[in-house]
Amino acid sequence: MLLPGVAVFSQSIQVVDFEQLQSRLELRNDTTYVVNFWATWCLPCIKEMPAFQQLHKEYASEKVKVLLVSLDFIKHIDSRLIPFIEKHQLSPEVIVLNDPDANAWIDKVSPDWSGALPATLIFNRNFRGFYEQEFNYISLKHIVDSNLVKL
């Protein structure tokens, strides 16, 4: 069952500019969005990736959506990013943000962001938190649990 999913990844990975990503960062509803900015070349990003993977799996039945925004270079999508996704069987959605004028959009993600990776945005209709730090599963789960929208 896993194989078809992997095959879909290989065929295409969505590449967006910041404007396209921004509409997703502005969603305010009952779902808690966990958006992680990362890259395959970023060691601390790779180290914390299992936490996002686990969150995605354990909250599959909850209103939690994990989005992995890769800042890998376009020319490295086929040679590095897709092999990484396949090797680690990353299950959350992965998109590539290709918008090299980062000075124009870093503040729109959060004025608190220096631009260093990894960085994570967690938000829903009641809450918005930005974290320029490395997570482990416990610290990530703690923030998500304390801010889930109670229906």
Binding site: L71, F73, P100, D101, A102, D107, S114, G115, A116
Partner: protein
Amino acid sequence: MKNKLMTLLFSFIFASLSMAQGYVAGDRAIDFRLKNIDGNYVSLANYPDAKGFIVIFTCNHCPYSVAYEDRIIDLDKKFKPLGYPVIAINPNDPELQPQDGFEKMKSRAAEKGFTFPYLIDEGQRVYPVYGANRTPHVFLLQAENGLNKVRYVGAIDDNYQDETAVKEKYVENAVNALIKGQKPEPGFTKAIGCTIKKKN
């Protein structure tokens, strides 16, 4: 008494905040004494004739740094003769990022033909004072009565990926502004970069 304490407390909080955020345009930058790849120690004070410095925290391993290597060499070639040499500093702990070890710095500099000092921030004491938080991260300094004033902090230009698609050459424009006696605008930009590797 209470007011005085509050004032003290507030100035302490502001001091810590500004330290955490690093230098901004107008601040006075510290000098340093760091080991160059040729084995000699380099300080800003070694350049009495410099009008300023393009200090760049950069490293071997980071793809963003690698993408900018040629542009850093170009900056040095262009501005060293005008009094603004590039001083590159690797801020990473080589134990955490072996590719950024001293020997690897030497070989990378030789491969690329670096025309500028490539220093190692041994003990990682310099980059936190400047407030570098990623590589590459530029601090443009202007010499002024024996002091070095920060004039620009941020990215080299607005396109790490494609040099030919650059619209704004932040550092080049900033140095040109200084040469004309003007204040660089913008004095601050942000960029995506690799975190500086430091033990917790």
